[in-house]
Amino acid sequence: MRSLRLALLQLVALCLLLTGASTDAADESAAASERKHCLSCHAIRGSVKKFSDGDQVSTYVDPKAFDRSIHRTLPCSACHEEFSSKHHPDRVFRTKQQYQVRESRRCLTCHPDEKINERPIHQSLLKKELAGQPRICTTCHSAHSAQRVRKGNVTTSEEQFCLRCHRYAGTMHFASGASVSTQVDTAEIANSAHRNLACSDCHFSFSPSEHPRRQFRSIREYRLSASELCRRCHFDKQTKMAESIHYSLVSTGRLDAPTCVDCHGGHAIRSMETDRLAIVKKCASCHRQVYAEYAQSVHGRALSDTNNADVPTCIDCHSSHSIRAARSASFHDAIPDTCGGCHGKKEVMAKYGLSTAVVKTYLSDFHGMTLQLHRKEIRNRQRPAAPLAVCSDCHGVHTIGRATGENAAVIKSNLLKRCQSCHPNASENFPDIWLSHYEPSLAAMPLIFILQWFYRVMLFVMVVGLVFQILLDIRRRLEK
C-alpha cells in the first residue's frame, strides 16, 4: 500500500517537474489546497518540534522562500509523506540528527545515488556515509528553500556559491589513502589578503558550472600543484622562488620542501610583513634547531621579548623567496653586506650604542679587502677563491651574542681556533693581528696610532716641502 503511494507521488512529482505550469489544473489545485492547509499552522512563527534529548527545531515554513524554491510546485506531502490534510501523526525522534537523517532519505526518491554521485562533493559525503557518518541533504541544500543547483543562479557571488558546500566539513581523498578537509573557514577568508578575489581566481578551472574531478597521489602533490597557481599573479615572487634552495629541492624530488602555501597559508593568506615573529615561527616549523639557536641569540631575544623592529628575522638575512643555500660560497661571501646592511647604518646602531665602524674596519682589513676584490673578479675566476673570514666566522651565525662584556672574552678565546682553521700553524699571538674592529687610538693601540700619525705628518710635510721647493726652483731659474 505504502509503496504504491510512494510510486504515485514520484509520478506526480516527475510530471510536475517536466511539465511545469501547464500541468494538470486539478493536481495543481490539490497541491495548492494541501499547501494552504499546512501553512495555516506552519506559516506561524513560534511553534517547535521537540526531540527526546531536549533539542528542538522550529516548525515555521517561510511561504515566500518556498515560493522561490525549486520544489514550489510539489505538495507538502510529496516530501512529508506521512502527512496530508487529514493525517498529522505525532512522531517521536531521539535527536534532531535522527530526524534529519530520516527526512534526507526521502530525497533519494527523486535524487538517487547514481545521479547525485556525479558531483565530487557528494562522493566524499557518500564515502563518509559508508564510514558511518550519515548524510543530511538539508545541511547544504536546506529544506523548504532548496534551489536549483546548476547554473549558479542560487547565489549572488561565486564565493557564496562555493561556500554552499565548502562551508561544511567535506573531505578530499588522495590515492595514498590520506584525506584533507574541504571545509573553508569563512572568517579566514574575510581576514585574508585575498578577500576580494573570487574562488576561481586561485582555484583555476573551477566555477559554478564546472567542478572537475582531479586525482592527486598525496596531499603534498596537491599543495605543490596549488602553489603553481600563485604565479598567475605573483610572477615576480615565483621567479625569485625558482632560484631558491627550496625550489631546487622540490625539483630534485624532495617534495617536503616548502612552496608558497606552506609559508603563506591558503585561505588565511595575509601580508607577513607586519608580524615579524610569525615569520620566524614559520621557518621554525621546519628549521627547529636553527630556531632554537636564534631564539637564544641577541637578535632572537630582542624579537621575542620586545618585538624589536630592528633585529633581523630569518628573511632579513636569507631573503624571503630567493633563499639561497646558506652553505654556498656566494652566501658566505655576501655576509659582510648582510650584516653591514644594519650594522653600517648610523641611525639604527645609535639606538643601541653600537659602532658602525665595525663594517669599515673589517672592509679595510686584509680579509674584507680581499673578499671585496674576490667578489668583483668572480666572473673571470676559473676556480673558487679560498674562503675568507667574514662576520659570522668570528661572531657565530644564529647563536650570535653581544660582542661586549662576557661574550667578548668568549669570542676572543675562540678566535685562535677560528684562525687556525685557515692558518693551521697560527700561534697565540696571531689573532692579535686583527685589531678587533678598533680604530687605533693612543689608549687602545698606541704603537699603531703613533706610527699612523707619524707617517701622516711626515708625508704631508714632505709633499708640501717638495712641491714648494720645486715651485721656488722654477721661479728662481726663470728669473735668470
Binding site: E377, A385, N429, I433, M458
Partner: protein
C-alpha cells in the same frame, strides 16, 4: 776643434758605467712593478685601483706578482749594498753618495737662494745633495719595505716570535714608506731629471751613461776637482783627460 763641430758632436763625458745603467733599469722595472701592484692594494676602495687589480688578474695575482717582485727587489738591494761595500772598502771606490757636511751647507745655501737671499744656487760635485737625498731615502725606505713586506707575507711565522700588533704596524710602515718613496720619485726625482729647466726635456745620462761636457760643467761644476767613480770596464771608454 771648431765651434761648428763641437755644436754637431758635443764632447761627452762618461758619467755612469754599464753596471750602473743596468742596475738603474732593473730598479725602474721593479719599482714600477711594485708600485703598480702595491699602490692599488693600498687604495683598494678607489674604483680605478680596483679596475687595475682586475686587469692584473685579480687580487691574488697582484699579490703574487708583488711578492716576487719584492724578492727580486731584495736581491737587487743585497747586490747593491754588497758590491758597493766591497768597492768602497776594498777597491778604493769613491763614496760619492755619502752625505757630507758640504751637503748640509749646500742645502742651507739653496734655501737662502730660493728665498732670494743669495744670487746663485750651491755648486755641487758628482752628486748634488738632492740626488743624495733621493738615493738614501729610496735605499732606506726600500730596506724598510723589504723587512715589513716579508712580515706581511708571513704573518704566521712572524707572530710566533713577535706580538700580533707588529703586523698592522708593519702594514702602516710598509704602505706609508711606499707612499713616501713613490711621491719622492714621481715629484722630486722626475722633476730633477725631466722637468727641471736645467735638463728639460730629459737627462738621459743614466740610460746612455754619457753627459755632454757643457751640461756636466753646469750641473756638476765641482766634479772635475773630485775623484770620479771609475769601474774597471769604464777606463777604456774614458777620454784620457778625465782619467784620474
Amino acid at each position: 776643434m771648431s765651434a761648428d763641430t763641437s755644436m754637431a758632436t758635443p764632447r761627452r763625458i762618461r758619467r755612469f758605467s754599464t753596471y750602473r745603467i743596468v742596475e738603474h733599469l732593473l730598479l725602474i722595472l721593479l719599482f714600477a712593478t711594485l708600485a703598480l701592484t702595491g699602490l692599488p692594494q693600498k687604495f683598494h676602495q678607489v674604483g680605478i685601483c680596483q679596475s687595475l687589480i682586475l686587469l692584473i688578474g685579480g687580487i691574488d695575482m697582484a699579490r703574487i706578482i708583488h711578492h716576487w717582485a719584492g724578492v727580486l727587489f731584495l736581491l737587487l738591494a743585497v747586490e747593491h749594498i754588497a758590491v758597493n761595500f766591497i768597492g768602497i772598502v776594498f777597491r778604493q771606490w769613491d763614496p760619492s753618495l755619502l752625505i757630507t757636511l758640504k751637503d748640509v751647507k749646500d742645502a742651507i745655501h739653496n734655501g737662502r737662494y730660493y728665498l732670494g737671499l743669495l744670487p746663485n744656487p750651491a755648486l755641487c760635485g758628482r752628486f748634488s745633495y738632492k740626488e743624495k737625498c733621493v738615493y738614501w731615502l729610496v735605499l732606506i725606505g726600500g730596506i724598510q719595505m723589504i723587512v715589513t713586506g716579508f712580515m706581511l707575507w708571513f704573518p704566521v711565522l712572524v707572530t710566533r716570535y713577535l706580538p700580533g700588533q707588529f703586523i698592522p704596524a708593519a702594514k702602516i710602515v710598509h704602505s706609508s714608506e711606499a707612499m713616501i718613496t713613490f711621491l719622492l720619485v714621481v715629484t722630486w726625482h722626475l722633476y730633477e731629471v725631466i722637468l727641471s729647466p736645467d735638463v728639460f726635456p730629459v737627462n738621459k745620462g743614466i740610460f746612455t751613461g754619457y753627459m755632454e761636457e757643457q751640461q756636466a760643467a753646469r750641473l756638476h761644476p765641482l766634479e772635475g776637482t773630485e775623484r770620479r767613480e771609475i769601474d774597471a770596464d769604464d777606463l777604456s771608454e774614458m777620454s784620457p783627460e778625465h782619467r784620474p
